[in-house]
């Protein structure tokens, strides 16, 4: 089997606060090819959950508890979460 053939896998994405309320799920599953970036994943999320489009500039994506930029490459074992603006304290 050639290793350069993209393999699709299911990525679990955790949602918090208003994003969870809007989608109605704590965790969603997105199917992506291997080697995709955070930007690609976010686009796929917005396609599958158009109700999140109005929040597209109101959340950041964390990978393994670190806020990322769009160029970050995702692997199948990463823990992904969408985080709306924080308001603790």
């Amino acid at each position: 089997m050639r290793s350069d053939i993209p393999v699709n896998y299911n990525l679990k994405v955790r949602l918090f606060a208003i994003l969870r309320d809007v989608v109605g799920e704590r965790e969603i599953t997105i199917t992506v090819p291997s080697g995709v970036t955070v930007s690609y994943l976010n686009d796929e999320i917005l396609k599958k959950y158009p109700q999140l489009r109005s929040f597209s500039n109101k959340f950041v994506t964390s990978v393994n508890c670190k806020v990322t930029n769009g160029d970050t490459i995702i692997t199948s074992s990463d823990e992904i979460a969408l985080l709306p603006p924080v308001s603790g304290g």
Binding site: R14, C65, L83, V86, G88
Partner: protein, 124 residues
Amino acid sequence: MSELEDNSAGAVSIFMGNVRNRGKFGNVLEIYYEAYGEMAEVKLREIESEVKTKWNIKKLVAIHRIGNLKVGETSIIIGVCSEHRHEAFEACKYVINNVKTRVPIWKKEMSEESQMWTDGILLE
């Protein structure tokens, strides 16, 4: 308080954040707090490490409650002890300011009329 006991510390500074009866959207009955626990722990440890680099702190305790809290209940408590008061005051202020801007915690204001997520600060 026993976690802040240290005979070499002459100052203990404590900050408590309580649920107010007035919020951004009017009267508040209670606040629902939600956290991304794993990341919040990482961020709190990061802030603790920065505080210990910046000031000569003996001990630091920071606890944020989650779930539903009624008006008057304490949502966050931060305690710092140090040899002198200046470090304790400054470190305490640094922790609460950074918890508010860097730790993934969210609040929803609950009133008789509505339940609204409070807008906040986008993490960097």
